[in-house]
């Protein structure tokens, strides 16, 4: 089966029932996608599938046949950080960093859907991604900084 991963064609031979999370991490080397709970509660394994944020632990790889999948490795363009990635560094939005890939992808989609989100919009948009380090304040600040 084939799908597009970060702009390139990815091919995968094996059971379509395997979790997309495992295929990304173990077969395709995209270990930026993390497993925090394995049951769709924490958002550490968030990826973007055809423009929507999805928990990759809940998706069978067979379901993404022909889809466009973006992981954190696909955000920076040729080594140049996106404004959002840079803001996460500048505002202290990444501490231990384990939620950061999923948080960045959720924020990325939020900003694509809503150009000028309010703080409450950002909270709503990131509600599926748990962070235990920051208290969210600096994450929200970083996302809002990218709307100016």
């Amino acid at each position: 089966m084939r799908f597009t991963l970060n702009g390139r064609t990815a091919t995968f031979e094996g059971s379509g029932a395997r979790r997309l999370l495992d295929v990304l991490r173990e077969d395709l080397g995209a270990t930026g996608t993390k497993e925090g709970c394995g049951e769709g509660e924490c958002g550490a394994c968030s990826v973007i599938i055809d423009g929507e944020v999805v928990d990759s632990c809940l998706v069978a790889v067979g379901q993404v046949e022909g889809c466009n999948v973006t992981t954190v490795e696909g955000l920076a363009d040729g080594g140049r950080l996106t404004a959002l990635q840079q803001a996460f560094i500048d505002y202290g939005a990444a501490q231990c960093g384990i939620c950061t890939p999923g948080m960045l992808l959720a924020a990325h989609v939020l900003l694509q859907h809503t150009a000028q989100p309010s703080a409450d919009d950002v909270r709503e948009g990131l509600a599926g991604n748990l962070c235990r380090c920051t208290g969210y304040t600096k994450i929200i600040d970083a996302v809002l900084a990218c709307t100016k």
Partner: protein
């Protein structure tokens, strides 16, 4: 040189996080991200009863056992203990041995793939002889630790004196780092074993590994991978995981990955100690504090772990940030048949300060005074003595943080919707930075420092980066002491074969104690370079306790901590009178941190710690059933999301400490202390009812309102 051309100082500036770019691009490698060719997968088979003995372990002959490697207690080459304080916790339950809690490790399995591993586990039958478990603190007879702090004489009932008595209850809490526990063990030549894992304290793991596997210093190699949060949860438990992985790797003769899933992590690993704290306070009618009589009982669970040290910190903070001439604190920690409780940010202080702060509220209510006025009357100031008799001689931030928080708090807006009631609460806390008592002196944390021939400098410490910023602030401190740009300073990896033991990354000690060593070492190296000495230079620096500190461990008298950090928190809540739901809508916290080495990271510590405390105070409830946690999944153990979290406003107050690097004090744990009592006071302000316990779940709030 023109002054404008000297490098800008790094301390006090929020420079980019050292490993920030790796973390935002997915390049940072956490334990489970590491690709180790030929590695098998490991699994822990655990007890399903809270108390008893193993009667038999039966392997189903229908399964092809040659596909797996199995480790039992008989395979342990050294001593069957997870080395810590009391050495009571076995690595694996002994044959016919005692079971003291559910999820106690009994045997280990490894296989080439996960399916075989799970299949093997299904073909093992363990039978038990059950014993009567103990869950209630009042029924517990085994005591892990007890201590008494005494100052003056406790005042009995007298004419014209008010006596206020209350009992408080605090609940279990899971650290819930987002990266679960995990290790990869790799056998190497000469009998050495390398373990790479998610951890806070490389040398805790090193010592435990040596003891259980009978290894020499050089044979046990412990390496920290990028670590996805710790909060104390990766202080002592990683020793267990590392030993298990190493035992499997040794027997299998190949690398083994032992990575917990969330369910196993929640079900089996340590939690914050729950407990009961009773206060009896005597005051004059004008509010003069006469005496505090406090009793603390903490639940240690099935094994001792770090419980005696947690109890010690709980007791020392139990009188709160107040000056009282007569204090008696009696504290004990007991054994029950739940999984062991252990280190968690705050380490006993959040529990005892919760009670102390609410006691101020209860006394104020009895006297008809404002609790704010009472705090101002009672609080410790420069020259006052604490419950252990420690005279506070510098950097006492009580007034500063109280004033700063009050002036930053927004006006209270009345609720527009009748079922929602608004309230505000305040707390004032202090937290000892660094190890308790003689801890730092005994440990003598040591760092290495190198000037390299290429003009760069290298810091060698075992202090780990777990999100709090160790890597960045050490480089800032060193760069300023050397007078070079921060890019000229690098850190050696946290690998026990490369770095000296600077001590565990715990107890709000890393920035203040180890950071100071970094500053001193860098200053020495700079002096030697200026005297004309040529790189490479390598030196070591060990902690020397300031002469002014004296601690009597037997009687719990003297300087319990080198210094204290202070915080005042103001919490605003909305209470839904129909559902009992408590929403923390605003949180202001002013923190006396001595000096903010990296203001953004200091704020980040405070905001993250504050939200953990909001979770503990409101929604993080663990329900027990027959000695196990009923809600042992992330779908049922809830932590605050971005929607639940209040906007947290942090005010950093700089009130330098003479022995801290650039005046800094440790603040990693402090933010866990203040929010819970402020929230309970805010709920009272909103509803008129007192909940003397956390978490204040909707059920408890509704029940309290109904019984009013």
């Amino acid at each position: 040189m023109c002054p404008s051309l000297t490098p800008a100082t790094a301390v006090g500036r929020s420079v980019p996080r050292r490993e920030g770019a790796d973390k935002v691009t997915g390049r940072a490698r956490y334990t489970d991200d590491l690709v180790i060719p030929g590695a098998w997968y490991g699994k822990t088979v655990r007890s399903t009863v809270p108390a008893g003995r193993i009667r038999s372990i039966t392997l189903d002959p229908a399964f092809e056992w040659s596909q797996v490697v199995m480790v039992t207690a008989g395979d342990i080459p050294g001593e069957n203990v997870v080395h810590l304080i009391r050495d009571d916790q076995p690595v694996l339950a002994r044959a016919g041995g005692e079971i003291r809690h559910r999820e106690e490790p009994i045997l280990l399995l490894a296989a080439a793939d996960r399916a075989t591993l799970d299949e093997a586990a299904r073909h093992i039958r363990i039978e038990y002889e059950r014993a009567e478990p103990v869950f209630e603190l009042s029924e517990a007879t085994e005591v892990y630790a007890s201590l008494e702090i005494s100052k003056g004489e406790v005042v009995e009932r007298l004419e014209g004196v008010e006596v206020v008595e209350r009992s408080f209850r605090v609940g279990l809490q899971e650290q819930l780092y987002i990266e679960p526990q995990g290790f990869i063990a790799i056998p190497e030549s000469n009998g050495a074993i390398r373990v790479i894992g998610s951890l806070q304290c490389p040398f805790y793991v090193h010592r435990a590994l040596k003891r259980a596997l009978k290894l020499t210093d050089a044979q046990a190699i412990v390496v920290q991978a990028e670590t996805g949060g710790g909060f104390g949860g990766k202080e002592e438990y990683p020793s267990m995981v590392a030993i298990h992985a190493a035992l499997l790797a040794r027997k299998a003769g190949r690398p083994v990955r032992l990575i917990y899933d969330r369910h196993e992590d929640l079900a089996a690993t340590t939690k914050r100690h729950p407990g009961v704290i009773k206060h009896r306070t005597t005051v004059k009618k004008d509010g003069t504090l006469l005496s505090q009589d406090i009793e603390i009982v903490l639940d240690g669970g099935g094994y001792c772990t770090l419980t005696p040290v947690v109890l010690s910190r709980a007791a020392i903070h139990a009188a709160g940030a107040y000056s009282c001439p007569n204090v008696r604190i009696r504290a004990r920690a007991v054994a029950t048949n739940t999984p062991p409780n252990g280190a968690f940010r705050g380490f006993g202080a959040p529990q005892s300060l919760f009670a102390a702060e609410l006691m101020v509220e209860h006394v104020a209510e009895r006297l008809g005074m404002s609790s704010l006025d009472l705090r101002r009357k009672w609080m410790l100031r420069l020259g006052d003595t604490t419950a252990t008799g420690q005279k506070l001689t510098e950097s006492v931030g009580s007034d500063l943080v109280l004033d700063a928080a009050l002036s930053a708090a927004p006006p209270i807006r009345p609720s527009a919707h009748p079922p929602i009631r608004r309230g505000r609460g305040l707390s004032l806390v202090f937290h000892g930075s660094g190890f308790t008592g003689s801890g730092e002196k005994k440990l003598q944390g040591t760092i290495g420092f190198e000037a390299l021939a290429d003009g760069t400098f290298r810091i060698l410490t075992a202090s780990t980066e777990i999100g709090q910023g160790t890597k960045t602030i050490f480089c800032q401190i060193a760069a300023d002491a050397l007078g070079v740009g921060i890019d000229k300073v690098v850190l050696a990896p946290q690998d026990t074969s490369l770095v000296p033991d600077s001590g565990p990354t715990v107890a709000s000690r890393t920035a203040m104690i180890v950071g100071r060593l970094v500053q001193e070492a860098a200053t020495d190296v700079q002096a030697r370079l200026q005297r004309g000495e040529k790189a490479p230079i390598r030196l070591q620096k060990s902690y020397i306790q300031p002469d002014s500190l004296h601690w009597d461990e037997t009687n719990y008298r003297g300087d319990a901590y080198p210094i204290y950090a202070w915080a005042c928190t103001i919490a605003d809540v909305d209470v839904d009178m129909n559902t009992g739901e408590v929403r923390v809508t605003d949180l202001v916290t002013a923190v006396d941190c001595g000096k903010a080495i990296h203001p953004v990271m200091a704020e980040g510590q405070i905001e993250g710690g504050s939200l953990q405390a909001v979770g503990w105070a409101t929604i993080e409830e663990i329900k027990m059933k027959d000695g196990g946690y009923q809600n042992d999944r992330l779908a049922t153990y809830l932590i605050p999301t971005a929607l639940d979290a209040p906007r947290i406003r942090t005010i950093l107050v700089e009130n330098p400490y003479s022995h801290g690097p650039s005046g800094a004090k440790g603040i990693g744990e402090l933010p866990m202390d203040g929010p819970a009592p402020a929230i309970i006071a805010a709920i009272h302000d909103a509803t008129g009812v007192w909940l003397d316990e956390v978490p204040a779940t909707p059920e408890k709030v509704l029940a309290a309102c109904a019984s009013r």
